[in-house]
């Protein structure tokens, strides 16, 4: 089944206190306007949203909420996967036997103090082995980063360069949380420690937001060349090597195989930088460089806006913001915009192949999608 992207849309990711209905409506409206179809033509929908006890909406059955919003009685399914929900929803949507499918990611994370949000996100880890031992989400990624540093000599400075790059890109993205905010390398290096070796700028920021994409069998200018989802054991300490995230490896391999291309053919990529180390490990696990040599890419500027393969021109989770479920969909919005040459200051020169990489938890669920600009 060949899938094409018709239209995309997203809200600005921010701290604004808006209801999820409101944000969903905006994102869906934009996506419809960007496509050539009317809402009547939508045949099915896939929504990704986390069940959260800390937002003031306490709404479990999001499918019916969407049905009520769209005023349609079509099949609507919900596919959450914590931070990887957006990608998982898109992957599921591509496989449904319906023509025009709406993919929506929406989350209202910020209705509570940071402490509660930290606990909520911690609940993506194993209950008795990790959560009880204080392994909050920054901590588990910090332990992975430490292993990588011990094994391959990666330094904290390398990680902070990634944060700097993403903030530089994000300052040019009107939809990003950090739009218009220039952050210096000094400020990044001197930020307070969150969980050694990570400081505040190694960690992505929680925001509210929504993003939507409409896909279809009808031919358009953006073809979904590769679409793969793979999983890995929930807790990194259980895996053979904490610095190899098998979900990324397997999903990447499968996606490249489907597209019949190699990593070096990718022109622009949106990688999951929930923490700086995750982007660095993704360079290696996706095959853009050998295992252990991820730091080289960032040191050489390979992944900068003016580099050989710009990564996270949107600002990534770091500077765009990370509303959990919408992130995976927002990555697809960015790649679509890049392939359609709509990115203004952060436009990459004539990209033909784009890749999105979305991870749930600490590598538990991973999706890799490859998009190609075709004549259309």
């Amino acid at each position: 089944m060949e899938r094409y992207v018709k239209g995309v849309g997203m809200t600005k990711f921010s701290f604004e206190d808006r209801s999820t209905h409101d944000m969903s409506h905006e994102a869906i409206q934009q996506a419809l306007n960007d496509s050539d179809i009317n809402i009547d033509k939508i045949d099915a929908a896939v929504v990704s949203t986390v069940d959260t006890e800390i937002n003031d909406e306490r709404q479990r059955m999001y499918g019916p909420v969407l049905s009520s919003l769209l005023k349609k009685k079509i099949p609507i399914i919900r596919v959450p996967a914590v931070c990887g929900g957006g990608g998982a929803a898109f992957w599921t949507a591509s496989r449904l036997k319906y023509n025009n499918v709406l993919v929506l990611g929406v989350d209202k994370v910020l209705s509570s103090p940071t402490q509660l949000i930290t606990e909520e996100i911690m609940n993506a880890g194993d209950n008795f082995w990790e959560q009880e031992e204080g392994v909050i989400f920054p901590a588990v990624n910090a332990l992975v980063a430490q292993q990588h540093m011990l094994k391959y000599g990666t330094t904290h400075d390398d990680l902070l360069k990634i944060a700097y790059k993403n903030h530089y890109h994000g300052s040019m993205n009107p939809k990003a949380k950090f739009f218009g905010k220039k952050i210096s390398l000094e400020e990044i290096k001197n930020a307070p420690i969150v969980s050694t070796p990570f400081n505040l700028y190694d960690c992505s920021i929680s925001v509210n937001g929504a993003a939507a994409v409409i896909i279809s069998n009808d031919k358009t200018d953006i073809k979904v060349e590769g679409s793969a989802l793979a999983t890995d054991y929930l807790a990194p300490f259980e895996r053979e090597d904490m610095t190899v995230w098998n979900g990324t490896v397997e999903a990447g391999k499968e996606s490249f195989k489907q597209s019949q291309i190699e990593p070096k053919d990718i022109n622009v990529a949106e990688l999951h930088d929930a923490f700086t180390i995750v982007e660095l490990i993704a360079y290696e696990d996706l095959g853009f460089c050998k295992k252990g040599e991820g730091a080289k890419l960032i040191r050489d500027g390979y992944t900068n806006l003016d580099g050989k393969m710009p990564v996270n021109t949107s600002g990534g989770l770091k500077a765009r913001g990370h509303p959990i479920s919408p992130t995976g969909v927002a990555q697809i919005v960015e790649i679509t915009d890049q392939l359609r040459n709509r990115c203004g200051e952060r436009q990459v020169n004539n990209p033909k192949l784009g890749l999105t990489h979305n991870v749930g938890g600490a590598g538990g669920t991973t999706t890799v999608h490859i998009f190609k600009k075709v004549a259309g």
Binding site: T114, Q115, L116, T118, E119, M122, D126, F128, W129, E130, Q131, E132, E133, G134, V135, I136, P138, A139, V140, A142, L143, Q146, Q147, L150, P192, I193, V194, S195, T196, P197, F198, Y233, A235, F237, E238, M242
Partner: protein
Amino acid sequence: MTKTIRWICEKCNKKWIHPIETCLYCNRKIIKQIGTKLKVIGYTKVNIPCPPHPLVPYNVLMLEDEYGNRMPKKVIKDYKIGDIYEDKPDSSENTISIVKIKYDFYEAVKEALELIGDIDVSENTRILIKPNLSIPGYAYTGICTNPKILNALIQYLLDKGAKKENITIAEQSFFVPLEKIGKKSGIDNIIKKFNVNYVDISKTEFEEKQEREFTFEVSKIVNDFDLIFNVPAIKTDMLLGIDGAFENLTRFLSKKTFDELAKDVKKAVMALSVLPNMFPKFITIGDASIGMQGNGPAQYGEPGFYNMIFAARNPVVHDKAVQEILCLRKLPYVELAGKLSLGENDISKINFVGNELDALRRDVKQPIGSKLIKRD
């Protein structure tokens, strides 16, 4: 000693971090692998708090055992990479061991006892186990001692050489016939499984004992045993503060004594503080596997989900430690008992083994009562 646990298929050698009965691939039996020689291979110092882990900074260590299995552990002390991690067992009166249950109750009970210097048991040792079965409730509500704890304790004693004929479970309820509670809580199944003795204390003989101005009618059953285990369910209590080691002893008294004490709360607290003197030495195993928080100890409380087991040779030390960990107000009967030299009530002089006090402290729902509870 903290230990790692893995469940391994005897044929294909796949390892699980969760207990399973047979291998999904081979259909063969599973063997348990316990690792006790732990080395620090990574650590992170966490600076951001969340409700279950409010005291920062704390460290999360990544430990690796002699088989290459890893597990994270929360500590306050600082460690370097390469350090050996070990808990030092201590059989002194001022020691309390605290073990977090990693899916395996047997290993948790075993470790809790080993950390307070273990116990000596032979085929002639007469053992008495006193759980809390005072109010009927399903095991998962935390209102009675968890049958899984009793299951683990009895199995451990049998493995150490005790004979089932010499093991007795004794309890009484002042509210409801004991049979009703045994059935609902699931304790009945445990007793049937091991075929141990089961005694209703209300049907035993009582003798008068004097302590200061108090006269207690104490069940004579306590004189017939070599080893006594006091196994309370750890619950918050609107009157007493907590139901711990002390409260569980009250059901060794006759209903007459209990009713008299219940008439005057102030007197009851003073009587409670000298109660341990009525009994020979006993070991307290605090069942905080589920436990209760909020307006306990009965139907107005809610499950605590503490997931811990305590073990102590002195009840004052036990209840004091519980009060400090759950951040409750000082317990009057514990402070008084300490003043009367029944045990150590100065928290700085109590030796915590297995986990550090500040690594365990968290706020729980306090037993302050509510306007919604109808009082008669």
